[in-house]
Structure formats: C-alpha cells, structure tokens
Amino acid sequence: MKKELLKEQDGQRDFNKRRQFLKLSGVVVIGSGLMMACSNDDDGTDLDPEVFDLGSGNLGILNYAYALEQLEAAFYTKVLDGAYWAGAPANEKRILEDVYNHEVIHREFFKTAITAVAPNDIVPQLEFNFSSVDFSSRASVLGTSKVLEDTGVKAYNGAGKLINVGDAAGMAYLTLAGKIVSVEARHASVIRDLLNPKSQDFAGDDILIGLSGTGKAFDKAAEPSEVLAEVGATGFVVTPFTAKNLPTS
C-alpha cells in the first residue's frame, strides 16, 4: 500500500526528482520520502517521521559510511536484476557480480559493527529509487557505477581525518576506512576502464586533482556535506535522513 503510494507520487514529482534534497542552514536533509511523508498524514495516522540523523563523532562517520554502502549495494542489486547484466559479456558480468558482492559485504559489515556498539542509533534500512537509471543500458549502468565508485573514494578520503583516533576503536575505524577505500578505488578504476579501455581514464584527469600546484595525480577528498548533497541530488535516496552532527574536523 505504502509502496504503491510512493510510486504514484513519484510520477508527479518527476520534475524535481533531482532536487529533492534541502540544504537548510548547512544541514543536509536527503531523501524524497520526507516530503512524501509530510503530505500523506491525512489518513488519521501520524506519518510525520522522526527523521533519522546520522549522529555525531565516530558513530556518525560509521553511519555515514553505512548509508553510502547501502546505496551502492542497492544499486548493484538492481544491476544484477537488469537486462544489461543478463546479456553482458562474461567478463563484465563477472566484474559487476564481484562489485555487487563487495558492496553487500561492506554494507553487512557496517551493519554488524554499528549494531554491536550502538544498536539504537544505527541508520535504518534505507529505501532507494533508481528509476532514473536504465538497467537495460550499458552506458546508464556503467555511467552510474562510475559516479558511485568515484564518490565512494572521495567520501572515504575525506572522512579519514574526521575519525577521532583518540582510542583504539577510533584507530581501528581509520584502518577500516583505508581497507575499504582502496577497494572502492579499484572498482572505480575497473569500471572506468570498461567504459574507455586502455585510456588514461582508470585514473583520469577528469577525476584526479593537483595539490598545491602539482599536476593531477591525487584523488579528491570530499566533506560529508558535499558528498551527501551530491547523493541527494541523484534522487536515489527515498528514506530521509539528516547529517546535522557529523564532525567537521
């Protein structure tokens, strides 16, 4: 029932699907479900949601990573259900299946790790809407994959310094971020090479930057606010959540 409602209203909201995130005095709210829930509370039940906030400190960073991994895992789940994957050459099928496995494992790892330390403050299972992706199209699937992987790389690179390493757990979180980010970078490299084989694109000038005047040879490092605004702009995230309390340094 709820799902049908969502679908119906999605159609009406096509015009602003890509702008369904709000930036309110520096607070990023993403997820189109926020407006949905607000406009549907005329059936007597209180649908005004208690919008989830990622939280503060290291927990906030873990939840941030978990939300991003949920997005990636959900995307590749759709990819493997789609027509492009079904008919893709064997090597592309294998690559996308591997990436799917890795992202599900990342997602489940974060779910387990966060539940262990903060069972009541973990990001809920998020709902996504990938209707803007054509899962029968190689260009659409790989193009979206490229953006998601490059985003993952710069998100983890930017999150590293936000982790408080004042205790052993914090140091472990930093190490974990390092263990995952290089796999995201491997994904990005492989997807980019599928799109433009044996070009410079696996580590292309379109994504790398220079530091203090050097040529381009470094990945970006992006703040959560930038990453979440970009993720919100895709329109993929239906479940609303906020990031009001993430560390900024």
Binding site: N101, I105, V165, G178, K179, A188, D219, A221
Partner: protein, 274 residues
C-alpha cells in the same frame, strides 16, 4: 642494500637532534618554502606569520615530526622506486606495446608528481634517491623487466599492490596530522587505481583474492604479511563463512585490502635497492 640498512636510513632520528631544536628544523622548512614553489602548502610549514609559526611549533612539540618525516621518507622511497621503474620501462624501446603506452605514461606521470610533492613537503629532510636495480640482484634474483614485457607487467603489479598496502599501513601513524593523513589517502587511492588497471592487463581481477600471488614466488610477501590479504577478521569481527550467498570468503577478502608494515614493505623493496 638490505632492508635493515634502509630502515636505518629512514629512521635517522639524528636528523632532528643534530639540528639542535625543532625550531631550527622549522626554519629549514621555511627557507625551503621560499625557494621551492611547491613547498608552500603541505603542513602549512612555509607560512611566515608569527601566529602560524607559533602554531606550527606547538604542533611539532605536541606530536613530534620525526615520525611523520620517517613516514614521508618511506613513502618517498616507494615513489622514487616506482618513478624510476616506469621511466625506464617507457624508455626501453619495444618493451611496452603501443596499445598499452597510454596506461603506463599515465601511471608514470602520477609517480613523477608524487615524488615531486613528497620532496617538496619534506624539503631538506627528503632522503636522496636510492640506486635501484630492477633485475632484483640485491635480493638474489635475476629478472629482466625491461626486456620482457610480462615481467615488466608483473613487477608493476607488485609495486602498485605494495604501494596500496604500504600507504594503508601508515594511516595510523599520520593520524596526528589531518593534512598529512588526507594527502596520504589521496595518493593511496590513486595507487589502488593503478594496481587494478595493471592487474587487469595481466588478466587478473582488479582486486586481490585471498593472498593469491601470481608474481615470482619471491614476492609472496606482497600479499602476505602479519595481516595478510586473506585476512577475514574486520574490526574484531570474524566474518569467515558469513557471505556464502555473496561470493563467500573469496569475495570477503577481495572486499577489504590489508596493510603492510613498514618493515614488510622495506623487505619487498630491498630486493631492488642497491
């Protein structure tokens, strides 16, 4: 050169004590800032205002730069090695097929820039470039990477995968300095992009399954170590056997890259350092 000697070279704590005071070393950095354009940003060391100077001195006093300098010199050693390797590879006539030239020119350019950046950051604390012998003679090997393309590809993969694990292993050591940590991460993921590309040119997966080593046996350490690539425990959670529906333990080990310690990396690199 064996890796103990390299270690000695890297952890020459006399560097700082000889300089007499941290203030002196700061002044050296500052001087560098005026003579090398690139040196202006990393660590904010080249800033000249009294306020910044005080802040930097305080930072040095609190955290001690000696360890960070060791780490940066360690990174610089790896980047020197990679730079030298790709330059020689690109210079070797007929080695790299034309279809693969763009990839290696791109990687080579990045390693040039990494060296340039780290040297500028370190200023006169930067160690000199070692002499490399890519036949592996210092380690008792007799390889022909610049005459045999499969060998060239194999060593390139080894250096890139090692680089990824080496930077990862130092993240904790750099955690006392947000800027340094972030720069290191920004290089780290580029090494991972390189590694995946080179692996695929050898018909390997872009990611590392278990601790599989398809390089000469002498390089098994690149995928082994105290925390081997086949590690299945993450954040204290034993994940072995938990992902049967998602590629199993093979996918699990692919999903997490693992660090190498400085000693482990130097043991690998020492094979090529005269």
């Amino acid at each position: 050169m064996n890796f103990i000697k390299i270690l000695d070279m890297l952890s020459n704590k006399d560097l700082l004590s000889k300089a007499g005071s941290r203030r002196d070393s700061f002044d050296q950095f500052k001087k560098l800032g005026t003579s090398v354009a690139l040196a202006s940003i990393p660590f904010g060391l080249a800033a000249t205002s009294a306020k910044t100077k005080a802040a930097n001195s305080a930072m040095f006093g609190t955290f001690g730069t000696a360890d960070n300098i060791d780490v940066l010199n360690f990174a610089l050693t790896l980047e020197y090695l990679e730079r030298s390797y790709y330059r020689q590879g690109l210079d070797a006539l007929g080695l790299i097929p034309s279809a693969d030239q763009t990839v290696f020119a791109t990687i080579s350019k990045h390693e040039d820039i990494h060296v340039e950046f780290l040297k500028a950051a370190l200023g006169d604390k930067a160690i000199a470039e070692p002499t490399f012998d890519f036949t592996g003679k210092p380690g008792g090997l007799n390889l022909d990477p610049f005459g045999d393309y499969p060998t060239f590809l194999a060593l390139a993969q080894g250096f890139e995968d090692t680089g990824v694990r080496a930077y990862k292993g130092q993240a904790g050591a750099l955690a006392n300095d947000n800027d340094l940590l972030q720069y290191a991460l920004q290089i780290h993921s580029v090494e991972a992009r390189h590694a995946a590309q080179v692996r695929r040119m050898r018909n390997e997966k872009g990611w590392i399954t278990q601790s599989e080593n398809t390089l000469p046996a002498a390089f098994a350490g690149i995928y082994g170590g105290a925390t081997p690539e086949s590690n299945k425990t993450q954040g204290g959670v034993d994940l072995a056997g938990k992902f049967g529906a998602f590629g199993g333990d093979n996918a699990l080990t692919e999903a997490f890259d693992e660090p190498l310690t400085m000693d482990e990396v130097l043991a690998i690199g020492g094979v090529f350092i005269v």
